[in-house]
C-alpha cells in the first residue's frame, strides 16, 4: 500500500537543488533544480542512466557532498551550509550507507564490522541482532575474505542498519552481484524497511528493481523526469532481471 504522504512525516525536504562540478575547464551540471520530499518508512528507488545525477543526489542527501544551490532539510536540520563536523555527526547518527562494493573492513570479522559502527552510535542494536536480521546469525566471526559477495553485502546492510538510522542509502547494492544473490540482498533491504520502518533510498539503473518500491523517481539530465507511485509493492523474491 502506498503511504499517505499527508500523514507520514517528511524525513528529507529538498528545494531547488542544483549541483555544478568544475572538471578543469568544463562545468558539469549534475543537478538542475530538484524539488523532492522523502517520507519516513518509504522505500524509494532512484532510477536513471549514468550521468543522470542520481548518485549526486544521494551523496547530497547523505551529507557527503554539498549542493551548489538550493536547500536540503533533514527533519528540522538544514544540511546545506552545515560544517564538516556536523555532517560527520549527521552520517554517524542518522544515515546508514550500503555501497556497491560492500566496503567492509577486511581486518574485522562480520560482527566487528558491525560493532565498528555501533561502538560510535548513540542507540544502536546489538551487532549480533543486526546480523541475525540479515540472516547471518551463524557467521558472526568470519572475516570478509571468508564470505561470499552476497554475504559480504548482507554484512554491509547489517552494518548500515545496526545504528538504527533514520535513512538507509544504497548505491547500486546489487551492482556487483549475480541476480540470484542480488534478490537475496534486496529481500534483506525489504525486510529492514518493513520491520524497522527505515526510509530506504535505493539507486539502480536496473528498471526491474523499481517494482519493489513505494515510489520510483526517474532522473534524467539532472532533473526529475518522473515520480511514479507503485500501486502495490512487488516482493523482492518475485523480481528478476
Amino acid at each position: 500500500m502506498p503511504l499517505d504522504h499527508a500523514q507520514a512525516s517528511a524525513v528529507f525536504v529538498a528545494r531547488g537543488l542544483a549541483k555544478v562540478y568544475r572538471m578543469g575547464e568544463v562545468e558539469v551540471q549534475a543537478l538542475r533544480g530538484i524539488d523532492l520530499t522523502l517520507y519516513r518508512g518509504e522505500l524509494v528507488v532512484l532510477l536513471g542512466a549514468s550521468g543522470s545525477g542520481k548518485s549526486t543526489l544521494l551523496n547530497i542527501l547523505g551529507g557527503l557532498d554539498a549542493p551548489s544551490g538550493g536547500e536540503v532539510y533533514y527533519l528540522d536540520h538544514k544540511l546545506t551550509g552545515a560544517s564538516e563536523a556536523e555532517l560527520t555527526r549527521f552520517r554517524r547518527e542518522h544515515v546508514g550507507f550500503v555501497f556497491q562494493f560492500y566496503n567492509l573492513i577486511p581486518s574485522l570479522t562480520a560482527r566487528e564490522n558491525v560493532a565498528a559502527v555501533t561502538e560510535i552510535a548513540t542507540s544502536p542494536m546489538r551487532p549480533e541482532d543486526a546480523l541475525a536480521l540479515v540472516g547471518l546469525g551463524k557467521r558472526l566471526d568470519h572475516f570478509p575474505a571468508q564470505l561470499s559477495g552476497g554475504e559480504q553485502q548482507r554484512v554491509a546492510i547489517a552494518r548500515a542498519v545496526a545504528k538504527n538510522p533514520a535513512v538507509l542509502l544504497c548505491d547500486e547494492p546489487t551492482g556487483a552481484l549475480d541476480s540470484a544473490t542480488g534478490v537475496v540482498v534486496l529481500e534483506v533491504l525489504e525486510k529492514v524497511n518493513r520491520e524497522l520502518g527505515t526510509l530506504t533510498v535505493l539507486i539502480t539503473h536496473n528498471a526491474g528493481i523499481a517494482d519493489m518500491a513505494d515510489r520510483v523517481i526517474r532522473l534524467s539530465d539532472g532533473r526529475i523526469a518522473e515520480i511514479r507511485a507503485n500501486a502495490a509493492r512487488k516482493a523482492a523474491r518475485e523480481l528478476s532481471w
Binding site: 562494493f101 566496503n103 565498528a116 572475516f143 548505491d171
Partner: protein, 789 residues
C-alpha cells in the same frame, strides 16, 4: 615523447611526496660518501702537493751537537739527494698580556738564501733578513692564536737567556702541518709555537756556533731508506744522535697519517652504513610502491605492451628517483666536503692552500650503488605484477585474509575497540612489511646515535685521561735529565701542593718484527698524580722490573702479552739496548705509552735517581705566581697546564663536533623522515578506501587517523628500542674501525645519545603524521562509493 614516457613524468609528479622522500634517503647516503671521500682525497692531494712543493725531507735526526764538517760525511752517503743541517732549540716564550706558560720550538733558517729542505710558505710578511740578529718567523697557528702580526715583538728564553724577537713573517711548514707540543695530548695553539730565526743568531744564543744539532735529508729516487738511516745513525752516534727516522716517524707526518687513515676509515664505514641503510629502505619502499601499481600494469598488458616495455617503464621510474637522490647527494656532499675540509685545515692541519677535489669515480660509485639498490627493489615487484594475467590484475584483489592478533588471542580482546583491533591485525597480517618498517626507522635512530656519539665519547676520554690517569695540574720538563733533588726545590715553590717526579726516555720498542718509536715513562709506583689504569679504569701500581704497556700498544702495535720479553732501544746517552719483561697492560684512550717504575727505569739507564720532569698539584689561585717563578728557572723547559690544554682542546674540536652533529642530524633526519613518511604514505594508499568508507559511515577524521597513525605510532615506538640496538651496533663498528695510535674511542653512549636517536624518530613520525592528517582531510569520500579499488 612516447605515451609511456609521458605517463612516467606524470607518475613522478603524482608521487612527488614519496619521490622526494625516497630521494632524500638516497641523498643522505650519497652525501656522506661524497663528503668523506672528497675530504680524504682533497687532504691527501693537498698534503702531497705541499710536501713536494716545499721539499719536505725524507729522513730526520736530532743529536746533541756535531761540528759542521760532519755534515759533509752525511751528504756523501750514497742515496742522499739533498741534506741540510739546522740548529733546533726548545724555548720558553713570553707574549705580552698572556701569563700562562708557553713552550716553543725554535729552528734555524740559513743566514743567506732559502732553505734547501722543509721550506716555509709565508702567509704574511717576509722571511728573516740575512744575518739578522733578532728577527723571527712564527707558525701561523701561534701567531693567529695570539693575534701577532709582522712588526710585533715577543721574548724567547733560549738556554736560560732572554732574547727579544721581532716578528717579520707568519708561515706554514710541511714539518708542522700538525702542531702539538712534545708530551701534550692535544694541539694547543696558544701555549705551543714554532718559530724560525737566522742560523747565526740562534747558534750564538744556543752555543751552537760552527755546529748543528738537527739534520734533514731527502733520498735519491732509487735509495733504500733504511740503508741511509743506518749510515746516518752510524755517523751521528758519536755526537749524541737520538736515532735517524723516516717520514713515518716524523711527528707531524705521523699524526697526519693517522688522522688521514681515520678519515679514510670514516669515508668507508659511514657511507657504507648510510648507503646500506638507504639501499635497504629504497628496496622496501619501492617494492611496496610498485605493488600498488598492479592494476596499471595489468592495463598496460591488456593494451599489448610486452614485459620488457612494462619492466623498463618502472625501472625508469625508480631510476629517475635514484638519479634525483644521487644528484642532490653529490651536491650536498660536495658542499659538506668543502666545509669539512676547511674545518680540518682551520683546526687540525695547517696547509697553505686546499686542493678541494671531488672525484668522478666517487660520483659513479654512488650512482651505481643507488641505482642497483633501486632497481633490485623494483624488479621483484614488477616481475610479480607482470606475471599476472591482465584480467586478474584488473580485478580487485580478493579481500585480504586477516586473523585475530596475538594480543587478542591471549585474551585482551574485550578491552580493544574495533579501530585498535584493525591496527593490530594489520600489523600481524603483514609481519615482514611491519618488521622492515621498524628496521628502517631503527636505522635512522641508530644513525642519529652514531652522529652524536662523539661528544659523549670525547667527554669520557677526557675524564678518564685527566681525572683518573693524568691528574696533575701542571707537567713540566727539565732542559735535561736532572737529579731528583730538583723535586725538593719545586715542592718548596709557592702554591705547589704536591710534586711527583718522572723520567722519560726516548726509545724504540721492538718485539719480533714489530716496532714502535716512542718513549719509556718512569713513573711513581704508587703515584698520586700520574697513574696507570687497569681494564676497569681503576688505578693500579706499576710493578718493579718491567714495563706496563697501553692496551693498544701491546695488542695492535707490538703484539706482545704479559710475560713476553720486549727489546728496548734507548735513544739517549749511550743508547743501551735492553730486554725488559712486559708485566701488564694498562687501559688508555689517548695516545700510547710504555710505563715503568721510575726506579726500574733509572736502574735500566744505570743512573741514580734522575728525573726528566715533574708533575705538580697546584693550589687553585696560585697559578700565575707559580708560572712566573717557574718561568725564571733556567732548567725548567716545557710546561703543560692540563686545564688550559683541555679547554683549548674543546675549543678546537667544538667546531668539528658542531659540524658532525649538523651533518648527522640532517642525514639521519632525512632518512628517518624518508622511511616514516613513505611507510605511512603507502599505508594510506593501501588503506585509503577502507578509511574513506569509515568516514562515510560517520567516523571522524580523528577516528580514522587513529587507525592509520596508530599503526605508525606503534611501529615507531617499537623502532625506538630496536634503534638503540642498531645504534650500539653501529657505534661498536665505529669503535673497532677507528682504533689508532692517537686515540681509541670508548664504547660509551650517554642518555643524550639515546634521546637524540629517539627524537629523530619521533620528530619524523610527528611530521609524517601531520602531513598525513592533512591528506586524510582530503580523502575522496564520493569516489569510495563507486570505485572498487
Amino acid at each position: 615523447m612516447k605515451a609511456l614516457d609521458r605517463k612516467l613524468f606524470r607518475d613522478l609528479w603524482h608521487l612527488r611526496g614519496q619521490v622526494l622522500a625516497i630521494a632524500a634517503v638516497i641523498m643522505g647516503g650519497v652525501a656522506t660518501m661524497a663528503m668523506s671521500l672528497s675530504t680524504y682525497d682533497s687532504l691527501v692531494a693537498t698534503r702531497d702537493r705541499f710536501y713536494a712543493e716545499y721539499r719536505f725531507a725524507d729522513v730526520f735526526e736530532s743529536l746533541k751537537r756535531a761540528p759542521e764538517p760532519v755534515a759533509e760525511r752525511i751528504a756523501a752517503i750514497p742515496g742522499v739527494e739533498r741534506m741540510e743541517t739546522r740548529v733546533k732549540a726548545g724555548v720558553k716564550l713570553e707574549v705580552a698580556g698572556f701569563s700562562d706558560p708557553i713552550t716553543g720550538q725554535l729552528l734555524s733558517l740559513p743566514d743567506v738564501g732559502a732553505a734547501q729542505l722543509n721550506r716555509l710558505h709565508l702567509k704574511r710578511g717576509r722571511s728573516v733578513q740575512p744575518w739578522s740578529a733578532d728577527e723571527a718567523v712564527l707558525s701561523d697557528t701561534f701567531a693567529d692564536a695570539h693575534g701577532l702580526q709582522p712588526g710585533d715583538t715577543l721574548a724567547a728564553i733560549i738556554n736560560g737567556k732572554r732574547k727579544r724577537l721581532t716578528v717579520v713573517g707568519v708561515a706554514v711548514s710541511p714539518e708542522y702541518v700538525y702542531q702539538i707540543a712534545p708530551g701534550a695530548m692535544f694541539p694547543d695553539f696558544k701555549r705551543y709555537g714554532v718559530l724560525w730565526m737566522g742560523r747565526s743568531a740562534l747558534a750564538a744564543a744556543y752555543d751552537m756556533e760552527g755546529a748543528f744539532n738537527q739534520v734533514s735529508l731527502t733520498l735519491a729516487r732509487d735509495a733504500r731508506e733504511q740503508d741511509v738511516i743506518d749510515r746516518v745513525d752510524a755517523i751521528l752516534a758519536d755526537y749524541g744522535g737520538t736515532g735517524a727516522y723516516g717520514r713515518k716517524d716524523q711527528f707531524s707526518n705521523r699524526f697526519l697519517r693517522e688522522e688521514l687513515k681515520q678519515l679514510r676509515t670514516m669515508a668507508v664505514v659511514f657511507p657504507a652504513i648510510f648507503l646500506g641503510v638507504a639501499a635497504f629502505l629504497l628496496n622496501v619502499v619501492l617494492s611496496r610502491l610498485i605493488a600498488l601499481q598492479r592494476d596499471q600494469i595489468a592495463i598496460l598488458k591488456a593494451f599489448g605492451y610486452g614485459y620488457a616495455a612494462i619492466g623498463g617503464h618502472f625501472v625508469k621510474l625508480v631510476l629517475m628517483m635514484a638519479v634525483l637522490g644521487v644528484a642532490a647527494g653529490v651536491a650536498l656532499g660536495a658542499w659538506f666536503g668543502q666545509g669539512l675540509s676547511h674545518v680540518y685545515t682551520e683546526t687540525t692541519f695547517r696547509f697553505p692552500y686546499l686542493d678541494y677535489r671531488l672525484d668522478a669515480g666517487v660520483i659513479l660509485i654512488a650512482l651505481g650503488i643507488s641505482c642497483l639498490a633501486a632497481v633490485s627493489g623494483t624488479l621483484l615487484s614488477v616481475v610479480r605484477a607482470v606475471r599476472l594475467p591482465p584480467a586478474e590484475g584488473m580485478r580487485p584483489e580478493m579481500p585480504v585474509a586477516y586473523r585475530t592478533s596475538l594480543v587478542e588471542r591471549i585474551g585482551l580482546a574485550r578491552w580493544l575497540a574495533a579501530p585498535t583491533r584493525m591496527v593490530l591485525r594489520h600489523i600481524g597480517r603483514y609481519p615482514l612489511k611491519s618488521l622492515l618498517t621498524v628496521l628502517g626507522i631503527a636505522c635512522a635512530c641508530g644513525l642519529m646515535m652514531v652522529g652524536n656519539y662523539q661528544r659523549g665519547a670525547i667527554d669520557f676520554m677526557v675524564d678518564v685521561q685527566f681525572r683518573q690517569a693524568s691528574r696533575e695540574d701542571l707537567g713540566l720538563t727539565f732542559i735535561e735529565p736532572t737529579s731528583g733533588r730538583a723535586l725538593h726545590e719545586l715542592a718548596a715553590l709557592p702554591g705547589v701542593d704536591f710534586v711527583e717526579g718522572f723520567r722519560d726516555v726516548p726509545a724504540i720498542l721492538r718485539f719480533g718484527q714489530y716496532r714502535h718509536r716512542g718513549a719509556v715513562f718512569g713513573i711513581q709506583p704508587e703515584g698520586q698524580l700520574h697513574r696507570s689504569l687497569d681494564r676497569s679504569l681503576q688505578p693500579v701500581a706499576v710493578p718493579p722490573g718491567g714495563v706496563v704497556l697501553t692496551d693498544h700498544l701491546a695488542n695492535a702495535i707490538l703484539h706482545v702479552k704479559p710475560g713476553d720479553l720486549l727489546t728496548v732501544e734507548i735513544l739517549e746517552g749511550s743508547r743501551p739496548v735492553r730486554q725488559v719483561p712486559v708485566l701488564g697492560i694498562t687501559k688508555q684512550y689517548l695516545g700510547v705509552s710504555a710505563y715503568m717504575q721510575q726506579d726500574s727505569l733509572n736502574a735500566l739507564m744505570r743512573e741514580g735517581g734522575t728525573v726528566s720532569g715533574a708533575y705538580l698539584a697546584v693550589r687553585p689561585g696560585s697559578e700565575a705566581e707559580l708560572y712566573a717563578k717557574l718561568h725564571e728557572r733556567p732548567r725548567v723547559l716545557g710546561m703543560v697546564a692540563n686545564r688550559a690544554a683541555i679547554q683549548s682542546f674543546y675549543a678546537t674540536i667544538g667546531e668539528f663536533i658542531l659540524f658532525y652533529n649538523l651533518v648527522a642530524t640532517l642525514l639521519a633526519g632525512a632518512i628517518g623522515f624518508g622511511v616514516v613518511y613513505n611507510s605511512a604514505r603507502i599505508g594510506l594508499s593501501e588503506r585509503g578506501r577502507e578509511l574513506a568508507s569509515l568516514r562515510v559511515l560517520g567516523f571522524t577524521r580523528g577516528e580514522i587517523a587513529y587507525i592509520l597513525l596508530g599503526e605508525l605510532a606503534l611501529l615507531t615506538l617499537a623502532a625506538i628500542p630496536a634503534g638503540f640496538v642498531v645504534g650500539i651496533g653501529l657505534v661498536g663498528i665505529l669503535v673497532v674501525a677507528f682504533q689508532s695510535e692517537l686515540y681509541r674511542l670508548p664504547l660509551i653512549l650517554t642518555p643524550e645519545n639515546y634521546a637524540m636517536g629517539a627524537s629523530v624518530v619521533v620528530v619524523s613520525a610527528l611530521l609524517s603524521g601531520l602531513l598525513l592528517w592533512h591528506r586524510l582531510g582530503r580523502l575522496d569520500l564520493v569516489a569510495v562509493l563507486k570505485t572498487r579499488e
